[in-house]
Assembly symmetry: C2
Homo-oligomer: 269 residues x 2
């Protein structure tokens, strides 16, 4: 069930749905709203959904699963870490610019900032994402950081990353709800005009994109496989020292790699 073909289907679906989301958000702001500009008006606000969908959701999603892409497994782990960090950094920059656009728009129109649940959770997500980025770079890209720290921090890094990604999608859905209620008038949101249907569909597709990314990211058998090195290989697997498990408080998965002889092993770090 978890073979390469299923991975390809899930990856293709995620890519296609993410791409459609970007098309839909552009269609929304360019066709139904006042386009894109940087003038403090509604067209500046429109950068907010565009940058959130393209950067904070799509790019972040790709950053999460970049280790899973089989054609990257020949790249060094260090290279993949840099790509993972770079994609997350771009996503973060997109998120910050998108927030500046909203604050500019609110200030120009004398609308209070930070009153809604959407704004509370959104700002919290951006701050925690920044913290995750700084900690991730400090722990996984600075060579001096002990390997034991990396292993110990990994469960929290993975959990926080997936939780933040999920939260960002939830916050986006709240933002869509807010915007449609405020912006649609004659016909209203409750009259289901074409704009409402299009943006509701965007929301549904964002959920599907998130669900696929989370599925890909959490399948153990789709993890980047690395040769067992140093004191780990399949001949020695029966002699894993218990003290090693104790020391690093980590888990070792003996998995059945897809359609390949048992010469690989996945280690959670």
């Amino acid at each position: 069930m978890e073979g390469l073909w299923l991975f390809s289907v899930a990856l293709s679906a995620a890519g296609a749905i993410g791409f459609i989301c970007i098309i839909l958000v552009l269609r929304w702001v360019l066709y139904f709203r006042k386009g894109l500009a940087w003038d403090g008006g509604a067209a500046e606000f429109n950068w907010h959904p565009v940058l959130i969908v393209t950067g904070f959701i799509f790019l972040q999603g790709i950053a999460i699963i970049v280790y899973r892409l089989p054609w990257t497994w020949q790249c060094s782990k260090k290279m993949m870490k840099f790509i993972h960090a770079a994609l997350n950094l771009v996503a973060f920059i997109f998120a910050v610019i998108s927030m500046v656009a909203v604050f500019d728009f609110h200030n120009a129109a004398n609308i209070p900032n930070m009153y809604s649940l959407h704004s509370w959770l959104g700002l919290t997500a951006v701050i925690l994402y920044c913290l995750q980025l700084v900690l991730g770079v400090g722990i996984y890209l600075i060579p001096a950081t002990p390997v034991s720290w990396r292993a110990a921090f990994m469960p929290l890094h993975v959990y926080s990353g997936l939780l933040l990604f999920t939260s960002v999608i939830a916050v986006a859905l709240m933002g869509i709800t807010e915007k449609l209620i405020f912006a649609l008038d004659n016909p209203k949101y409750k009259d289901s005009p074409p704009e409402a249907i299009l943006v509701n569909a965007l929301g549904v597709l964002l959920v599907l994109f998130g669900a696929l990314i989370l599925w890909i990211a959490t399948r153990a058998s789709w993890k980047r496989e690395i040769f067992m090195q140093s004191n780990f290989n399949m001949n020695q697997i029966n002699r894993i020292p218990v003290t090693y498990i104790n020391d690093f408080q980590t888990r070792y998965h003996i998995i059945h790699p897809r359609r390949e002889p048992l010469t690989f092993c996945t280690i959670c770090k």
Copy 2:
């Protein structure tokens, strides 16, 4: 880091936050809104947030982590499955009643049904939750179902359960956003009256509750530990037949049980 004390802290925090959420939603509808009734009016609508928070979020969260509670580990697996299913069934019933309340209110007030993204995703979540419940009972509670089916379906069951739980919280956050925008008038939502602050805080606590449940549910070392039986025990762990792994396409985790001798092992099924 993943010891019993941390589990206790996470569990206590989840319980306390879940309890506060129930208090806040009751405070919202009883103090700021028109209380609870079943008359087709606003007081009937108020059952919607109350039943969603108490049933579809709190009870579902408890149902998810019920296997993790150490004082239940002496109970039989079958008993725990019944408790898990029963809690989910009650959560589902609460969700259905809460939806009936909304449809009644909408129909009485001539408000269209099913126009918002909140309603689209909410109804989808309830339908999929029902499907998850039916499949779960069919596969894990009917004795005739082959063990191999149970093992094969488990990754999807776990993933779907956690995704649905997360989605329900996201949909609740959208519902809170909608309700505050529609219901608050003079002062409006943007003026941040006490009701808005209270319900925003409820939204933040729902996210924290969800984050804690997901953390507890996804820690491998907090899984229900079972004695290795039949052909599995720690003396035989080095001789796990590869064919067994192939056949069931499942993963075997050799973990370090917390502060206990290595006489237990967790098996993912």
